[in-house]
């Protein structure tokens, strides 16, 4: 028996909708089996994973807080990946964005002005974009592989942040502990509603996603991204420059990652500290693929991923499932999504071969 693929002449519209659902069902099924083997009631476990976090208002706010950076970074990355630029260093751009965005509130803590917040956001975006510009420069100028350079830059950014908050940026009144002064109220990203912690970052994320969806769908630039991503040669014939696209996509995704970074620091944390991200930049890669590189899909996948984190916590508390299980669960989800996507572009046939004389080699 073997599996054979046949390319569809046109990607299947039906399976574009069915495949993510199929992936979700498979994940739930195998997740259920996993919980059962761990000695838990599968339905209870799935309930606390996927339903419990949605039942309370505060928890919905938390979902938005968690999803915002994932969506912001994810939509930026989708443009990169669609244009065949493999930026996997969003975590570093997030970190640098958080640093450059925090320059004003950390170094001028006395400055109370409504201008400070917009400036911080812009500086965060610029910082992220410039940091993503390094692998772009190296790729266009020296032909260096951006997967590796952007990844190495993540470690460098984190060590730089570490040095800053333990050294020059350390709060002098903070008993020498590694964090900066708390931001002044004017420098804190405001919350949207009274009822919880969700702040403006989620609004930025939604706006960015819709804007990029519009660009990809209706603007020449979007067409350029797609064409260059599919074939650099075809793009050249159409008069597009692959080199400029490297810069455009990398700096765009860098800027969005930087915006996510400063929003997180300003809206959710309120000061700078050595750990500001639980790996958003890497998780966002999954989010981007889970949303099948479509900005609107990424909104959905950002919330789904955020839900698995919250659900993982809820399940730890209510039924005592280890936190490692949630990571296995996320891995499973991604695997199924990636495999089910095959259905969109290919027909799958299972070919059973008769082996030598048709003997019953397989049951």
């Amino acid at each position: 028996m073997r599996i054979e693929l046949q390319r569809r002449s046109q990607s299947s519209r039906l399976f574009s909708f069915v495949s993510p659902l199929l992936a979700l069902v498979l994940t739930l099924f195998f997740g259920g089996i996993m919980f059962w083997m761990l000695g838990k009631q599968p339905l209870d476990a799935l309930y606390s994973f996927f339903v419990e976090p949605l039942l309370e208002v505060w928890s919905l706010h938390e979902l938005a807080v968690k999803a915002a950076p994932l969506i912001l970074i994810g939509v930026g990355l989708s443009i990169c990946y669609r244009s065949n630029n493999w930026n996997i260093g969003a975590e570093g751009q997030f970190t640098i964005g958080a640093i450059t965005g925090s320059i004003l509130p950390v170094l001028y803590p006395e400055w109370h002005s409504p201008m400070i917040l917009p400036l911080m956001l812009v500086m965060g975006m610029v910082g992220g974009a410039l940091y993503a510009g390094i692998p772009a420069l190296l790729k266009t100028r020296f032909n260096t592989n951006e997967i590796l350079t952007s990844l190495m830059l993540v470690y460098i950014a984190q060590l730089y942040l570490d040095w800053l908050v333990r050294g020059p940026w350390r709060d002098p009144q903070g008993y020498n502990f590694p964090q900066t002064k708390s931001f002044v109220p004017e420098a804190v990203l405001p919350e949207i509603l009274e009822s919880g912690r969700a702040h403006l970052a989620i609004a930025f994320a939604l706006v960015a996603a819709v804007a990029l969806w519009f660009m990809m769908r209706f603007m020449l630039k979007g067409f350029e991204v797609t064409v260059l991503g599919q074939s650099e040669r075809a793009g050249r014939f159409a008069g597009f420059s692959a080199r400029r696209m490297v810069w455009f996509s990398m700096m765009l995704s860098g800027a969005l990652a930087g915006l996510a970074g400063i929003s997180e620091v300003s809206g959710s944390i309120g000061h700078v500290q050595p750990t500001i991200s639980p790996g958003y930049g890497f998780t966002a890669i999954i989010v981007a693929f889970l949303g099948r590189l479509n900005p609107l899909g990424i909104i959905a996948s950002g919330f789904v991923l955020a839900l698995t984190y919250l659900g993982g916590e809820a399940a730890q508390l209510s039924i005592g499932i280890s936190d490692k299980v949630s990571r296995v669960f996320q891995g499973l989800l991604l695997f199924f999504v990636l495999s089910c996507d095959t259905l969109i572009h290919y027909r799958i046939r299972i070919v059973t071969q008769k082996l030598r004389g048709g003997a019953a080699h397989h049951a």
């Binding site: 590694p178 639980p278 809820a314």
Partner: protein, 357 residues
């Protein structure tokens, strides 16, 4: 796919029984937030052992749910809030990085008691607690000075926060009280937890000629290296004798259980109040692992010092003590106050390293 299922089945078999279970409403919920995995073999595991001791002590009267691997940042605030909302009467947040998150949640839930480990921000319903690890390090320093033939020890440090700097200074002051010329080499691993890196740091120190090793990182890797190279070493956070039966001199063992029991008792009795607690050897919040692999006279000295610290007769930071640059820090007979210790950001005289600033 089949492989994966098999792997999962194996996993399930290995995991065995996790206590989950029914929750009776009359039990008091005492909750814990961990920064690492409860089986990290170091910091978090020590807290989890404390939690288990607490559960065992009070039995059916309490339950002790916990969340592990909670990252320091916005996730911490959510995790703590989840605890508060789930009906916890008391929440222990066991990492320095949870400080501001704990403060914020404590404001929102005035009826829940919070206790934050190693921080400095308190409130009406938020106490802080910490352990005087430096007392143990002073004893270690004395032992090191007695046992070292070369008169130089190696110190694997994690991050230059006051806690760690204080430990380095206490170790050296202990050593100098025996041998005034004792030297200390420091390597910053910039991690709490990376066995490979800690092992490399240990090897580097040994290759530079130290013959005693101590660590302020959490894995047993340095102990293993010391055992392999045939030098002596001290354990950290838990008794690491299994990793070096002929190597470990003693270890500072975090025994949070004693503290947790004391505080929960106060809560149940209705006389809990917010305090900034900094307990030491005498309170049982830290203990010294058995003194092994040393002659009796060294052991006697260590035990005597331990007793003196417990009785309050000896304070490790007692003048005269000079800073690394030679200027005076503590005058003859002067004892450092807690504030100065908690914000310590300088070396005492004799450390062969420049403190990262």
């Amino acid at each position: 796919m089949k492989k994966l299922i098999i792997a999962l089945a194996a996993t399930a078999a290995l995991l065995g029984g996790i206590t989950g279970g029914a929750q009776a409403q009359d039990k008091t919920k005492i909750c814990f937030i961990y920064v690492g995995s409860k089986t990290d073999g170091g910091w978090t595991q020590a807290h989890d052992i404390g939690r288990q001791a607490l559960q065992e002590h009070f039995g059916d009267k309490i339950e002790t749910p916990f969340l592990e691997n909670v990252p320091e940042g916005p996730d911490a605030e959510r995790a703590i809030e989840r605890m508060a909302r789930s009906g916890c009467a008391m929440v222990f947040t066991t990492s320095f990085g949870f400080m501001d998150a704990t403060v914020k949640v404590a404001q929102k839930f005035p009826d829940v008691k919070f206790e934050h480990a190693t921080g400095f921000k308190a409130a009406e319903n938020l106490a802080t607690y910490n352990s005087r690890f430096y007392e143990g390090r002073y004893i270690q320093g004395q032992i090191a000075a007695k046992m070292s033939k070369k008169g130089v020890a190696g110190y694997i440090a994690s991050f230059p926060i006051p806690e760690v700097v204080m430990g380095i200074n206490a170790f050296l002051l202990g050593a100098q009280s025996v041998n005034p010329d004792f030297e200390l080499k420091v390597v910053w691993a910039n991690t709490w937890f990376d066995p490979g890196k800690e092992a490399d740091a240990a090897k580097a120190l040994i290759d530079q000629g130290v013959d005693i090793l101590t660590q302020h990182t959490d894995t047993t890797a340095p102990m293993q290296v010391a055992a392999e190279r045939g030098i002596l070493a001290f354990g950290q956070a838990s008794d690491m004798i299994a990793a070096g039966p002929n190597t470990q001199l003693t270890a500072i063992v975090d025994t949070w259980g004693a503290y947790y029991i004391k505080r929960v008792q106060a809560l149940l009795d209705g006389n809990w109040k917010s305090e900034q607690i900094w307990d030491g050897l005498k309170d049982g919040i830290l203990t010294m692992a058995p003194y092994t692999n040393m002659p009796d006279d060294v052991k006697a000295m260590a035990e005597e010092t331990e007793a003196k610290i417990k009785s309050g007769e000896l304070h490790p930071f007692t003048g005269p003590v000079n800073k690394q640059d030679g200027t005076q820090w503590l005058a003859e007979g002067e004892k450092a106050d807690d504030g100065a210790l908690l914000g310590m950001n300088f070396y005492v005289e004799g450390v062969d390293d420049k403190l990262p600033q």
